[in-house]
């Protein structure tokens, strides 16, 4: 049984056909401009206030557009970009270690296992240097050397030190920078900020995105907001797995609603499992906590050589330890890309060499680093991460090796966008993790912050201006039938959720969905497993709509209702992820199909059949409805297609 239909190929037609170094310049030059005096007459909705949304809102407002911005949190400063720890990449070559825009481009395409669009990645690398300048000017306190210049470090998957950082809180510092820039525009009256307000649906009129339906989370009031364009900056969908490193309330509803309204969803199965998270401790666990990958710079990963060895780590002599990453990948050692490090940890645990509760963990040991640099130096570099680990586990990593295990962390898939970051719905732009654009099948460390800020500060604004300048938009108001219909659908859905009054909580459904996804669509995927999941998921969805229990009413603060609405979307998205994973009969990056591996267990791509981005069109949720696959063939004119090798 197939679970999908095949539609026509899709192509990005917006990247100019000139050498890659010139594409972004050419595109910006060709873009139409909006006269500064006229910008005030144009309004833009921005949903989300993370790095991409915060940067976009601030920049568009500075340029003179009227920005209407939303976040579900109580303040724009709380978006989950804030939790990124390690750093942000930029091709500054301050280390004189051979870095360049071209090398960052090359590393990103290779790290993404040749499943990203070259044009977009090159532009990302080009833009990276400007981001650092911008953030320093805003007062972002990056780590500095004693000479007063910026410090950098290296990160997984690369051999140069191009990662700028602010202790282990780089995401926080960059987000606060964007938040402050946004705050300045709020104060100036250029941004109308709606905190504690969640988007319920996208309003599409005459084929163009013209607004959103949103719910005030305090009063329950459902309202419409109309504008000339809509920017979705709502992050990733890792919470499909229930347990992930995402914030508890991070959700996919905005992008999923846009998908249902016609935006193609690309590569939904590309999820990143981060190798260095704190293992789970019990069934009550609500989320997982990541420890920055930067720890792999100085920590050494090992497991006992003998399966089932239950001695405490200090009782296991060197000769009986296996530093398996250093052994298998001598060139990169502990710094191999995330997907490889995660799978290697799973393989060791599958061999029975895992440590901690349930044997689901490996050691990340700083004993050598402490001997080499001294405890003070280690504390300065990683102090807050060590504290965090201690607080959560009750163990002191200065004395006992950390235990780590992979966890869902980032989703490379997202709404399909062209070079202009526009989705298949004209006027609906998608930035940051919410789109699929830059990381292919695997994202390199410290590249999410880079992409979020590149999209928000530098890429989106000129392209959004181009859209507005080249589009004639009719005036619309809330009485338009399309607006009324969308509002009715959104409120009808909430009413239905509240009226079921079944016997299972929202979380119990979410947890079950997460278990299915982790087992069958997690670190290793098989045809059998995915088919099993695709048998179970529609049943679970049906059960949800029959027996979920949502207490309270819709016209009040109701956190259960918020969760129910999000989980109802996760249930549909989970199915599409499994369909995508099933159809892609190759392994690439974070997508590992057990049927497609080399004799030594590495991912094996199938470039002849799968060198494309899979963009899915929504096909309905009824019996017999199937999503429609549109392929965007990927051409590699600059980076030679090759099997990744980090040995």
């Amino acid at each position: 049984m197939t679970f999908y239909k095949i539609g026509d190929d899709i192509a990005d037609t917006t990247a100019p056909d000139v050498p890659i170094e010139q594409r972004w310049d050419k595109r910006r030059f060709d873009a139409k401009l909006v006269n500064p005096a006229n910008r005030r007459r144009h309004s833009v909705i921005v949903v989300g206030t993370g790095l991409a949304g915060g940067a976009a809102g601030a920049t568009l407002a500075e340029q003179g557009y009227r920005v209407i911005q939303f976040c579900y949190q109580d303040s724009p400063r709380r978006a989950h970009s804030i939790a990124a720890q390690g750093g942000i990449n930029a091709a500054k070559n301050y280390r004189n270690d051979g870095d360049s825009v071209y090398r960052l481009f090359y590393d990103t395409v290779k790290g993404g296992d040749f499943r990203a669009r070259e044009s977009n990645v090159y532009r990302l690398a080009q833009t990276s240097t400007q981001i650092i300048d911008q953030c320093v000017a805003q007062g972002v306190p990056f780590a500095r050397e004693y000479g007063g210049l910026l410090d950098t470090r290296s990160f997984g998957g690369v051999q140069v030190a191009r990662t700028f950082y602010a202790r282990g809180q780089t995401g926080q510092q960059l987000l606060i920078g964007a938040y402050q820039a946004l705050s300045r525009q709020i104060d100036a009256g250029n941004v109308e900020m709606h905190a504690r307000t969640e988007m319920l649906d996208l309003i599409v009129i005459d084929g163009r995105a013209r607004g959103i339906v949103a719910r005030d989370l305090i009063t329950g009031q459902v309202s419409t907001y109309l504008a000339d364009a809509v920017v979705l900056a709502t992050g990733g969908y890792g919470n499909v797995f229930y347990l992930s490193t995402n914030a508890k309330n991070s959700n996919a509803s905005a992008i999923w609603r846009a998908h249902r309204r016609g935006a193609y969803f690309a590569n939904p199965c590309y999820t990143q499992i981060h190798p260095t998270c704190i293992p789970r401790s019990g069934d009550y666990q609500g989320k997982l906590t990541l420890m920055s990958e930067s720890l792999r710079n100085d920590g050494r990963i090992w497991v006992p050589k003998n399966p089932g060895d239950t001695r405490s780590p200090d009782q296991i002599p060197e000769a009986e330890r296996d530093y398996y990453l250093e052994r298998i990948y001598p060139g990169f050692g502990n710094l191999v890309p995330r997907d490889i490090a995660s799978r290697a940890a799973k393989n060791q645990c599958d061999l029975g060499r895992g440590v901690g509760p349930g044997g689901l963990g490996v050691y990340l040991d700083f004993a050598d680093a402490i001997r080499r640099m001294g405890e003070d130096k280690v504390r300065e570099k990683y102090g807050n991460l060590f504290e965090m680990y201690d607080r959560i586990t009750g163990e002191d990593p200065y004395k006992v090796p950390m235990r780590i295990y992979p966890a869902v962390h980032y989703t490379m898939g997202g709404l399909w966008v062209d070079y202009d970051l526009q989705s298949t719905i004209p006027g609906c732009f998608v930035v940051g993790e919410a789109n699929f654009s830059d990381h292919g099948a695997n994202r390199l460390g410290a590249s999410a912050l880079m992409q979020g800020l590149a999209d928000g500060y530098f890429v989106l604004p000129p392209m959004l201006g181009n859209y507005i300048a080249s589009t004639k938009l009719e005036k619309v108001d809330a009485s338009h039938p399309a607006v009324v219909d969308t509002v009715n659908e959104a409120t009808g859905r909430l009413t239905r959720l509240l009226s079921i009054d079944g016997e299972r909580t929202v979380d119990s459904f979410h947890r079950e969905l997460g278990e299915i996804m982790w087992e069958e669509c997690g670190m290793a995927r098989s045809e059998d497993g995915l088919r099993k999941a695709l048998g179970r998921l529609p049943e679970l969805r049906e059960e949800f709509w029959r027996s979920v229990k949502v207490p309270g009413t819709g016209d009040q603060l109701n956190q259960s209702l918020e969760r129910a609405n999000r989980v109802s979307d996760f249930l549909e998205l989970g199915e599409l992820m499994c369909v995508d994973a099933l159809h892609r009969e190759e392994s690439c990056g974070g997508h590992f199909r057990v049927e497609s591996q080399t004799p030594d267990g590495e991912a094996r791509r199938d470039d002849d059949r799968f060198a494309y981005a899979g963009a899915w069109e929504f096909g309905g949720t009824g019996t017999g409805d199937q999503p429609i696959l549109h392929k965007e063939p990927l051409n590699f004119d600059y980076v030679h297609l090759a099997q990744r090798n980090y040995a």
């Binding site: 709380r78 989950h80 300048d133 320093v136 000017a137 780590a143 820039a181 019990g282 009040q556």
Partner: protein, 248 residues
């Protein structure tokens, strides 16, 4: 572990609230405090009761969304820890634990343990930024910043805006929050041009929001999960005096 939670329940800003006791017989020492509330809420939902509303998001101690007063202490008994990072191993079997929202004139209760902290956003909007429009930045290395200054700026920039300082202060003052922003931005060369205006505007906004005055009791620094020091308040006072006297 068996714990009794006495939780502040308040249906809306206009209705009176009261403490309600709930037993949680199956608490686990490795749970976080918010996971304990999750477990309680699952039960309340199934029993047809209204689950307890509380703010939370990242659950990693960095977003600043969570925060309740636990046994009279903002974020509970463990130093330098947000509520989400507080674990049940800090308590003993049989404990009775009081859980209340942030209490302050400037933070109205929305429901149960949720309060309105938008006043803190408006303080930042009044000048807690450096005016650097996108695209106008000079090359990052054109202004070296001595490491000790960069470190001071960073230490203050780690504020997560949770509001524990306000909740802990007997005067309901947001002085520590405001001073952290002043110390972050005013210590950097990039922040120098707006230095005087910034501190004056921030203090004015803080007063306008109804936050109380600072009497140097220092409760704020004890409650602060990020360890923002009293020095920052001294910095704010110095900056304020300097700006008020009109010295450039």
């Amino acid at each position: 572990m068996k714990l009794t939670l006495r939780i502040w329940r308040q249906a809306s800003p206009d209705e009176p609230g009261r403490m309600v006791a709930y037993e949680v017989p199956d608490a686990n020492p490795d749970m976080s405090f918010l996971e304990l509330l999750d477990v309680l809420n699952e039960r309340l939902t199934l029993e047809g009761d209204d689950p307890v509303s509380f703010d939370h998001d990242c659950r990693e101690g960095i977003c600043g969304a969570c925060g309740v007063v636990i046994n009279g202490q903002a974020h509970g008994p463990r130093e330098r820890t947000t509520t989400c990072q507080l674990h049940i191993r800090e308590f003993n079997d049989g404990d009775v634990i009081d859980v209340e929202p942030w209490r302050s004139v400037a933070f109205g209760v929305i429901k149960d343990l949720m309060v309105d902290r938008s006043g803190l956003d408006r303080i930042i909007q009044a000048g807690g930024y450096i005016s650097a429009p996108t695209g106008s930045a000079p090359e990052a290395h054109s202004t070296p910043v001595p490491k000790p200054i960069a470190d001071t700026a960073f230490d203050n920039a780690t504020c997560i805006g949770c509001g524990a300082c306000v909740a802990a202060c007997p005067n309901g003052s947001s002085m520590l929050f405001t001073s952290a922003k002043v110390a972050h931005l005013n210590s950097l060369p990039q922040g120098a041009p707006e230095r005087a205006e910034r501190v004056l505007n921030l203090v004015e906004a803080m007063d306008a929001e109804g936050f109380g005055g600072c009497t140097n009791t220092g409760e704020c620094t004890v409650a602060c999960p990020k360890g923002i020091p009293m020095d920052s308040i001294a910095t704010l006072n110095r900056e304020y005096l300097r700006a008020s006297l009109g010295r450039k």
